[in-house]
């Protein structure tokens, strides 16, 4: 079974859609009141990005999205940095390092082991 490297671990197993986007900035790109990034809903899904960029206040925006129940179930990034990790910890969103090509996966949020939805 393929495995993503857990950076900020969660708990439980979820089965959900994967939304793949380019590099994003939480500040400016993510609307925490709607859980959308440029019109694409990310809440309740797995957000896959190469990396995040932009302002150091970005973690506050993800925190707000989480407080409104609009955070993604997990974030998968090709490269992670202190900003993305801080955002994930504050918002309590599990974070994994790696890449996903699947449209939908079932993933163990503590180990990062996953399989394509059947």
């Amino acid at each position: 079974m393929p495995t993503l490297r857990p950076i900020v671990k969660g708990a439980g197993v979820v089965r959900t859609e994967v939304v793949r986007l380019g590099p994003i900035s939480f500040l400016g790109d993510l609307n925490p009141e709607s859980g959308e990034i440029s019109g694409v809903k990310i809440s309740g899904k797995i957000l896959a990005v190469p990396y995040v960029r932009g302002s150091t206040v970005g973690p506050y925006v993800l925190w707000h999205a989480a407080a409104r129940g609009n955070a993604p179930l997990a974030i998968v990034a090709k490269s992670v940095d202190l900003m993305l990790i801080t955002a994930s910890v504050l918002a309590n969103v599990p974070l994994f390092q790696g890449e996903l090509s699947e449209e939908c996966i079932e993933i163990d949020l503590s180990t990062g082991r996953y399989e394509r939805c059947r």
């Binding site: 950076i7 206040v57 506050y60 925006v61 925190w63 990790i85 801080t86 910890v89």
Partner: protein, 370 residues
Amino acid sequence: MIEAAEAVRKIADAVSRGEVVEIETAHVSGVSYLTLGEYGVRFIEELAASGARVKVFTTSNPPGIDLHLLLDVSREFVTGQRRVLDAFLKMGISPISTCAPYEFLRVKPGTVHAWAESNAITYINTFRDAWSDKNPGPLALLSAIAGFVPKTEMYTLEGRRPTAEVRAEVAADPLKAGLIGAFIGETLGSGIPYISGLALNGEEARREFAAALSTYSSIIFAVLEGITPNWRLYLAEADFRDKIAIAEEDLSKYLKDMDNPDVIYLGCPHLDIDTLLKISRIIFERGRAKRPVYISTSPGVYGALKDLVNKLREYNVYVFAGSCLVVSPYTRRFRAVATDSMKSVYYIPRLHGVKTIPCETIKCLDYAYA
């Protein structure tokens, strides 16, 4: 609700195998209501309401309103901004609203700090050899409360090893220092440059160099030969993978001929006392400026030079304390800002849609009299 020590430990689990290191001071960024927005404010308010207090001496970045309300912003903005400042006071954060806390804090070589605000981090790493990583605003705040920070590579000698050899035969005033910082930043992108041959003329040039370097790259530490404390130690540890040389013509690409500014802005990062006195002398000699000059400084410098500041107003020169044009919505009333700060040149168009014209300090003042 967020428990600070637990959150810092969880971040440490992800970045430093759980290792943390105690800090002496912290400096918090993400203070302006403009950049924080409602979400950031609520986070900070909830933290303050939970009873969190800082464990170490902690300073904060400039908010979007200045201390004497020279910058006229909306009532709504003032209300939002006050909520942030009230929460900071409640948590015991020192109300020295400055982007240059190194002016007041004599942080010593080898001491450990959790600072946010890239110019300040780069300044203390480079000119004091005090150790800080580039902490996101909320992490610096949580670390101030916890009293420790994740022990990332920047908090180890190995992680501070120079990675690029830079030869710069340049003597730099503030603008040129900023141009060099921007050029090194853009060329290398990341890593730790070891720079020889660079003469930075004065404190203001040091500040502009640190601010530009970290604005145009992810670099937060440069070793300057003969200047950075312990530079010999860092040279011995160096592991050069890149090598660049800088000539005067490399710097000209940032200087474009543009239309006339409607305002001149100096003081990003906040102007120190000597520079403010120097600029004042030039202004008093030349008389009343034709175009307004805005100068931002820290509350400490403002307080010390209050009479001078009042007199400068008659010369169409407005000194304000505790804020800056980068983070204040006041900036949006201008069309084009002439400035000697490369950090402002980068951020003002992006945050406010206002043009910027980079100029040497003295040429910026020439615009004021043109």
